[in-house]
């Protein structure tokens, strides 16, 4: 049976899910100790928060030291609305969760561009701000005195839930949270986030709006934290400011890292173990900070992949994993180009100038790239070739002059917008997406062509599943085209250098561009592979895609280019067919001149 939602889930999966759910929900019936039921509740909602945190840590690579602040927003919102306004749990809980999501979106704003310690500061500052707010804004939160009389959720009949029933509620929510996270992170969403983590610039080059996706990750992560907070607030009927402190944020982060970030089930394992420790060592209270600090240190130093991560690396478990299914390439994946539009240049610069501080990297450069050709771009080192590519793809704004795409002047288009207009590139220093497989790199390349959004992937609707499958076949065809299809399921970083360059071309072709800029595609590539590269560039031209190729490899550039432009010291000194350029005295001087100077130096 295939349902229209959860379309990929087999009956076997449902069976497994039901067994796990039954075991979890039976726990309070087996161990009837009321204290045990409370511990179970805490473990479960703390796990929900850790799971959400891992979406940030494991998938976008961002660390958050302020998740206690988000947790606080969920808890206080629901607690205040139910005690002061008297609203029932079923209304206050969604509001608490939603408000935390909004807070997460706000928190994302200063987080988007900050990196490293600066990013750590953003989340830390947020956490401390919420700590101060809950402690000092007594009119709202009553500070350390806290809010009491928070009601437990009611059943349809009107009576309040018993602790066991409340655990069932939290348990079902947690199971759903895990299921939805698995769906989301195993799908296009997880792949795109991992791509950003690997290289923001490369992700932008195929049209990923980096800010929007990071924002999404922050919001989802916050929603999970808010839900955990709501469950906490209604557990004992009392909350105060002592809970929402930096140490709690550290503990969330520790449980993620202890379990293994980016492993789907790491947060579950980590938060259960970490949060059981105080219960187990209750008698050693005097030493509990020693134990706690020691555990963090040992985990970080000796288990950098976490418990689940380390287990997954065991050879025995690796073999046990299913081999990926064969994917039949879809013929015609390259037949996307529109016929070249007669006389209009695809892209054109007029008096383009770009300064870096006092250095003029490009000086009034005017270049027009005709449709459907290979346009070579050469020049000695430091002549401004890469800067030109970076301006054409929107990475750097021009200092003056303009860029026209098919006759229309571009106003400050950002790289992902340029990709949307059909302009993409490869990179001189290869930029891959970290751990992603070869095939997934190309799938990220299809970003702008995939229609199924986050909700469809969350529910794994039939549409999303089928779209994914169709595009896998197309991606396979592109890999076949560049000749690395047999390595589709390996991590891309395992490919040899030359094949990584070919993968970049396949990824760029997935965008189905009208203009492809290749930035030194032959650098560091061996002679056999250069032959293959030459053939690939020619075949791409035959499909009608316009290409700009930067290269130092003269044999290659003179063999494939229809037109060659020469840059020297940021200025265009020559342009024409390969024969014309080779005869041009200025070009000869630029090249030999530098060599003579080099010989003297």
């Amino acid at each position: 049976m295939r349902l229209p939602v959860f379309a990929q889930t087999q009956p076997k999966d449902w069976f497994r899910f039901i067994v796990v759910a039954a075991i979890v929900l039976a726990l309070p019936l087996v161990f009837r100790d009321p204290f045990f039921v409370l511990v179970l509740q805490s473990l479960t909602y703390l796990f929900i928060v850790a799971l959400g945190l891992d979406i940030l840590v494991g998938w976008t690579g961002q660390i958050s030291l302020g998740h206690a602040g988000l947790y606080a927003i969920g808890a206080y919102t629901s607690a205040l609305l139910s005690t002061r306004a008297g609203w029932p749990f079923w209304i206050t809980a969604p509001i608490g969760v939603a408000l935390t999501g909004v807070a997460g979106a706000l928190l994302a704003v200063p987080s988007l561009r900050a990196k490293g310690p600066y990013l750590a500061m953003v989340t830390l500052a947020f956490g401390f701000m919420m700590e101060v707010t809950s402690n000092r804004w007594q009119g709202l939160t009553n500070g350390p005195m806290g809010i009491s009389g928070i009601p437990a959720p009611t059943l349809p009949g009107g009576e309040e839930m018993t602790p066991t029933q409340y655990f069932w509620l939290i348990g079902v929510a947690a199971l759903l949270c895990q299921l939805l996270a698995n769906n989301l992170l195993g799908s296009r969403v997880g792949r795109t986030l991992l791509a950003l983590r690997g290289s923001e610039i490369a992700a932008q080059s195929v049209g990923v709006n980096v800010y929007r996706w990071k924002l999404l990750a922050f919001v989802i992560s916050s929603v999970y934290a808010g839900l955990g907070g709501v469950f906490f607030a209604h557990q004992n009927g009392f909350i105060n400011s002592d809970t929402f402190v930096f140490a709690l944020s550290v503990s969330f982060l520790t449980s993620v890292l202890m379990g293994g970030s980016g492993t789907l089930y790491g947060p579950l394992v980590g938060s259960v173990i970490l949060n059981l420790i105080p219960t187990v060592f209750a008698r050693l209270h005097e030493y509990h900070l020693y134990i706690y600090g020691g555990i963090i240190l040992v985990t970080i130093i000796f288990l950098p992949d976490g418990i689940v991560g380390s287990l997954l690396k065991l050879p025995a478990l690796r073999r046990w994993r299913k081999p990926p299914a064969q994917i039949e390439p879809q013929p015609g994946a390259l037949a996307f180009a529109k016929p070249p539009s007669a006389d209009q240049p695809v892209i054109e610069t007029r008096d383009l100038t770009r300064d870096f501080g006092g250095i003029r990297a490009l000086n009034r450069v005017s270049i027009a790239v005709r449709s459907g050709i290979v346009h070579g771009l050469i020049g000695p080192n430091g002549s401004g070739k890469s800067t030109l590519v970076n301006v054409l793809t929107g990475l750097y704004p021009p200092s003056s002059g303009e860029v026209l795409l098919q006759g229309k002047v571009l106003r400050r288009a950002r790289p992902h917008q340029m990709a949307g207009l059909g302009v993409t590139r490869t990179f001189q220093s290869i930029r891959l997406f970290g751990e992603l497989s070869v095939l997934d790199h190309v799938m990220v390349g299809y970003h702008l062509h995939l229609r199924a959004g986050i909700w469809q992937h969350l529910l794994q609707t039939r549409g999303a599943v089928e779209e994914e499958f169709a595009f896998r076949r197309k991606a396979m065809a592109l890999l076949q085209f560049v000749g690395i299809a047999e390595r589709a399921h390996e991590p891309a970083r395992n490919l040899p250098y030359g094949q990584q360059r070919l993968l970049e071309i396949a990824r760029a072709l997935a965008l189905q561009p009208r203009l492809l800029l290749l930035d030194e595609p032959a650098a560091g590539v061996n002679p056999t592979e250069i032959q293959r590269l030459t053939k690939i560039i020619q075949e791409i031209r035959n499909t009608g895609v316009t290409q700009v190729v930067i290269e130092h490899h003269m044999e290659l550039i003179m063999g494939i280019s229809d037109v060659v432009s020469v840059l020297d010291f940021g200025e265009k000194i020559a342009e024409g067919t390969t024969a014309e350029v080779q005869r041009n005295p200025k070009v000869i001087e630029a090249y030999l001149g530098t060599e003579l100077e080099a010989a003297h130096a």
Partner: protein, 292 residues
């Protein structure tokens, strides 16, 4: 009102100069390793409590307490580098050192409670409690000593990094680790030196401020984090920016303290969030252009 502002400025400079002192430690390790000690505040706490033992319990001169704290913390800095930094710097998650240094600080706090107890301990100022008047604002001699001592030390550190051979070697590692290694500089030793220096500054900060606060096991967290905020506001790679950032945070807090004591606690964090939203590498930090 004017007196209040003048008073806030003076008090703010005194607190702020301690932030600047601690933050200078962040700077030194950040430029050499890209990491910093998140438990810097607890190192400061150890410095203060060790000062208590020397000055209050053993009755040694204040100068001995200062030197003793600096020496002890230098050794702890070397140990920290070995335990929490060297082991985590190469991890895939680039900020593992955040948690490993936090873990060390948690352990230190437990140790402090066991050695010195959980109570706040009074540390009488060696310069007496006689309030000095500058304009119409009052200031303790200790506060003046803090301002001059801290800013003087910050300048001394800068002098060391720019002029002394050892300091230049450290700066060279910060600029380019590989090139420095080729020039025969022992990079690993310089990294240790950076953490020694950073921790020594925290220890000094502890003995300096203990007489105007109290010394106890939980005194470190807030100044440590606020000094971090100051460094971020100034820009982690800019020592002058950090000095200004530290003083600015101190003064800002006192100003907002005039309006509302609750606002005082939160304003630094709000401020740093606003700044990072606009300038992701701080007010005076280098703007990063990624080379493609």
């Amino acid at each position: 009102m004017l007196v209040k502002i003048w008073q806030a400025l003076l008090s703010g400079l005194s607190v702020g100069s301690v932030y600047a002192l601690i933050a200078q430690g962040y700077y030194v390790t950040y430029i050499t390793t890209g990491a910093l000690n998140f438990g810097q505040g607890d190192f400061l706490m150890i410095g203060a409590l060790f000062g208590v033992t020397c000055y209050v319990a053993l009755g040694l001169p204040y100068a001995v307490a200062v030197v003793g704290a600096v020496v002890l913390l230098s050794m702890m800095g070397a140990a920290l580098e070995r335990i929490a930094i060297r082991t985590t710097l190469r991890h895939a998650l680039s900020l593992s050192w955040v948690l490993s240094t936090v873990a060390v600080s948690i352990i230190l706090r437990n140790a402090a409670v066991q050695i010195w107890g959980p109570e706040q301990i009074k540390f009488p100022s060696p310069f007496g409690d006689q309030v000095l008047h500058i304009g119409q604002a009052g200031i303790f001699p200790q506060e003046l000593f803090i301002i001059f001592g801290s800013i003087g030390t910050v300048l001394l550190v800068q002098f060391f990094l720019k002029r002394a051979v050892l300091g230049k070697a450290l700066t060279a590692v910060a600029y380019n680790r590989n090139a420095a290694a080729v020039m025969g500089i022992n990079v690993q030793r310089m990294i240790v030196l950076a953490f020694v220096l950073s921790s020594a500054l925290a220890g000094l900060g502890g003995v300096l401020i203990a007489p105007i606060t109290f010394a106890w096991a939980y005194m470190g967290t807030v100044p440590g984090i606020k000094a971090f905020a100051a460094a971020i506001i100034g820009g982690l790679e800019n020592p002058i920016g950090i000095l200004i950032g530290g003083l600015a945070v101190g003064v800002l807090e006192q100003f907002f303290g005039i309006i509302n004591s609750n606002l005082k606690e939160g304003i630094t964090f709000l401020f740093v969030l606003l700044i990072l939203a606009v300038r992701p590498t701080g007010l005076m930090g280098r703007k990063e252009i990624e080379k493609v």
